[in-house]
């Protein structure tokens, strides 16, 4: 009885728009940050709010976005993957390694038909993901440190394949998806959008997606509910590696070359996008929607700073400070939400 009375009161309180807003703060705060950034840059530079530049931003966040799809799964499970950038790099290099290069490229590579090269690249990133999965679930190495080792291993594979050289050619399909466009829209933007949508659908509407949230919400309870937690975490690590692999292949095509350390910045960019978007590092909360907002917060920030006249050396500091501000907002929003819930 007490229960239902309290409950009715609760519902009444919830009905208030204010409370509703507060409950949604985790999602609203990053969005507000985004609006502020857009408003600021539009005001500060006439070249920022142009259609052309919107296209730039979309293209610039595409590679990060593809990586972030898999990383969102990983972080929702309360794990982390530090090998994303390095696996992306290795996969991009593998696909180029198995493609015939121009004569002036000095790599002892193995040209194969495009389909075979793509298949081998998928195989490579899947294997790296499986190795991560194996280390984390079977051996029991914390993901932070397992993927740190993987970061080095994948970098080693990249180095070994290109040996300091640069490869330019990738299979036609990859080249089209990475650098081509259709009706003025770059294919890479379309691919990123499709993968983000697919990630969202999997997380929201499939049994596996539910398990990801459940495992992230309370791992112990998931295990005592008879879920195969190891399988789920393992799968998530493989999804992350394959997402990174796709990003690596398209990225190589997009940038027009495959070389060592090409993707290094994507590690922090992708993690920051997921976290700034409001997905909790402790798992169980957030999703692709949040990741998309996070992607645009960072994308707009990076792009906008190029449009305003600003001391080049100051830029790095400003980027750091805005990132910190976004995090602070995020945490406070989270706190407000929790107060609203209780």
């Amino acid at each position: 009885m007490t229960a239902s009375v309290t409950d009715e009161k609760r519902r009444a309180r919830r009905a208030g728009v204010g409370a509703l807003l507060r409950g949604q703060m985790r999602n609203i705060a990053p969005f507000l940050t985004l609006i502020c950034l857009i408003a600021f840059f539009s005001f500060a530079s006439p070249s920022f709010p142009t259609l052309d530049n919107v296209g730039n931003i979309l293209t610039q966040v595409s590679v990060t976005g593809i990586i972030a799809v898999g990383l969102t799964f990983v972080i929702l499970c309360a794990e982390i993957d530090l090998s994303i950038a390095s696996v992306a790099n290795a996969t991009g290099i593998v696909v180029a390694y198995f493609t015939a290069q121009e004569s002036y490229v000095n790599i002892a590579n193995l040209p194969l038909p495009g389909a075979a090269a793509i298949a081998l690249a998928f195989l490579a990133c899947t294997l790296l993901g499986l190795l991560n999965a194996f280390g984390i679930t079977f051996i029991g190495i914390p993901s932070f440190i397992m993927t740190l080792a993987m970061m080095q291993i994948a970098a080693g594979i990249s180095a070994l394949l290109v040996r300091g050289q640069i490869a330019y050619k990738v299979p036609d399909l990859v080249a089209t998806l990475g650098a081509g466009s259709i009706g003025g829209i770059p294919w890479i933007v379309i691919v990123a959008a499709v993968l983000l949508l697919a990630g969202h659908l999997v997380l929201t509407y499939t049994r596996f997606g539910r398990y990801v949230y459940i495992v992230g919400g309370n791992r112990e309870a998931a295990e005592y509910s008879g879920l195969n937690v190891k399988l789920i975490i393992g799968t998530v690590m493989v999804i992350s590696a394959v997402s990174s692999g796709i990003a690596g292949m398209l990225g190589v095509a997009h940038f027009g070359s495959a070389q060592q350390n090409e993707f290094d910045t994507y590690l922090l960019d992708a993690i920051a996008a997921v976290v700034v978007g409001g997905t909790s590092l402790f798992g169980g909360r957030g999703g692709i929607g949040n990741t998309i907002v996070g992607l645009f917060v960072l994308g707009v920030l990076n792009n906008g700073l190029d449009h305003v006249k600003i001391d080049s050396f100051l830029k790095i500091l400003i980027r750091g400070l805005i990132l910190l501000a976004a995090l602070v907002i995020n945490v406070y929003a989270q706190r407000l939400r929790e107060t609203a819930e209780e």
Partner: protein, 499 residues
């Protein structure tokens, strides 16, 4: 019983957590040199009130007087400095440190230069623990000790911190009866020294035996405070949860007749299971439509045994058969697919607090209703079926489980298995830390499931739970099965004796 002046006095204390009132307008008096028993349902606010006195919750409404002077503790450190020490409901030790360090947690002896004196610490710890009748090497890692001893070390820490006001929040739930006896005699000695003790427990017999004064809480309010000598168990229960629950007063001193072996088919059979030092050579049979009770003190190996039956731990040896076929449970999900359901001891490890009720009740049965895509409508149907069956309140499939009361959360923990549906249900400590009313609900539900033909294993360290539920009882001691009772008359005393 003669008592002195009030050492702690609370006047009009209220406390709420984000709008939900946990305590409403509490007046509470603790005298010097008394043992004050505190009883009440789960969630009645006992721990919350004590945490206010111990400085854990600094923001509350109302007044706290220490020796007649108004104070407000901002942190546990403040309270400790003022002589208030508390043993919390959850075990709070640092598992990787030595026993000695845990005895002094945070107040390790130092010399004038501030250097920790390890040797003195070890000696002091040894002496203090010996005073409690515990011969433990203070240099041992505490995480290596059985839970009961860990709990004793934690109690020792508070007792020897020099606190004049000692709060014990359900300290006995992890202790064996002899350990409880030792604790009680120590509490009486401390009372002689003029210290004040608050003792929280759901074991009303214990409270009546050791306390001078008993206070009953209900729904965040103090209902009554009476001298222990002037009240009875039935009266306490009535104050806690209302009239009409007289049968709960039963203390199982009387004899109980166990059923004779049933002829129903065996569902689960274990032969000579062993696991490291946890348990060895355990054999058991579980038949359709019966409840097998597994009793033993904390640390006797039953926790590990039931986890093995659910595939969480892998046995070193022995054979497990389900419906006659040998199985190897590689994981909990293998166990679930084999038809075994398991409800662990703590709510924290069975529920997803941030998720709505229907997602909690469907989690173990999802693959039965959906291959690839979720079917939320079916999930809600399933939830409502369980809500009706177990009378979960509020009856809303969308309610966040974290916002349910303790008793109802416990029901959700059971409900999530019933849609599966399992062949074998294993309950580990189904009544740990539960108030008498909630215990009654558990008994009712388990009996209902037995009538439906489920094979049920109940493992517990509480004799009442086993006695009230089981058709047959196995007693474990130090990792081995030492007695089996079936088709005979048994009482609590005989059960304790066997352990």
């Amino acid at each position: 019983m003669e008592t002195g002046a009030p050492v702690i006095e609370l006047v009009g204390v209220s406390k709420s957590f984000g709008g939900v009132a946990a305590l409403r307008d509490i007046d509470f008096v603790l005298q010097a040199g008394e043992i004050h028993g505190l009883v009440g349902e789960n969630g009645a606010g006992k721990s919350t009130l004590m945490k206010i006195i111990a400085g854990v919750h600094g923001d509350y409404v109302g007044e706290l007087r220490l020796d007649g002077r108004e104070t407000r503790f901002r942190s546990a450190g403040d309270a400790l400095a003022a002589g208030v020490g508390m043993v919390h409901q959850e075990l709070s030790i640092a598992p990787d440190l030595s026993v000695g360090e845990n005895v002094f947690l945070g107040t390790q002896p130092v010399n004038k230069a501030g250097i920790v004196q390890w040797r003195r610490m070890v000696e002091d710890a040894r002496r203090l623990l010996a005073g409690l009748g515990l011969e433990i090497d203070p240099r041992a890692r505490i995480g290596d000790l059985p839970i009961g001893l860990q709990q004793m070390v934690e109690i020792a820490r508070v007792l020897f911190s020099g606190a004049r006001i000692i709060i014990l929040d359900e300290p006995t739930s992890a202790l064996s009866p002899p350990e409880v006896e030792r604790l009680f005699s120590l509490l009486r000695r401390l009372r002689e020294d003029g210290r004040s003790i608050v003792f929280i427990s759901h074991f009303l017999d214990d409270i009546l035996r050791v306390a001078d004064t008993v206070t009953v809480f209900r729904n965040g309010r103090r209902i009554a405070t009476t001298p222990a000598s002037e009240t009875r168990k039935a009266a306490l229960i009535e104050r806690m949860i209302g009239a009409g629950h007289e049968e709960l007063g039963e203390s199982y001193r009387a004899d109980i007749r166990l059923a004779s072996a049933s002829a129903a088919p065996v569902v689960l059979q274990a032969s000579n299971l062993s696991l490291g030092r946890a348990y060895r050579d355990v054999s058991l049979e579980l038949r359709e439509g019966e409840v097998l009770g597994l009793y033993g003190f904390m640390g006797c190996g039953q926790i590990e045994l039931v986890r093995t039956l659910f595939g969480k731990l892998k046995p070193d040896g022995g054979v497990l058969r389900i419906a006659g076929t040998e199985v190897r449970l590689a994981s909990t999900s293998a166990a679930r697919r084999a038809g075994i359901a398991f409800v662990p001891e703590s709510r924290r490890s069975m529920l997803f607090h941030a998720e709505p009720l229907y997602k909690n009740t469907s989690v173990s049965a999802l693959e039965r209703i959906s291959r690839l895509f979720l079917k939320p409508a079916r999930e809600r149907e399933m939830a409502h079926a369980q809500i009706d069956k177990l009378q979960i309140r509020p009856p809303r499939a969308e309610a966040l489980v974290g916002s349910l009361s303790g008793g109802n959360q416990q029901k959700v923990g059971l409900a999530k298995w019933l849609s599966f549906p399992p062949k074998v249900l294993i309950l580990s400590e189904p009544t740990r830390g539960m108030d008498v009313g909630a215990k009654e609900d558990v008994v009712r539900i388990v009996r209902g499931l037995r009538a439906e033909g489920l094979a049920i294993l109940v493992a517990s360290t509480e004799p009442e739970t086993v006695l009230s539920l089981a058709d047959r009882i196995m007693v474990m001691k130090k990792g081995a099965v030492v007695r089996e009772f079936e088709n005979e008359v048994i009482s609590k005393d005989r059960l304790l004796e066997a352990a």
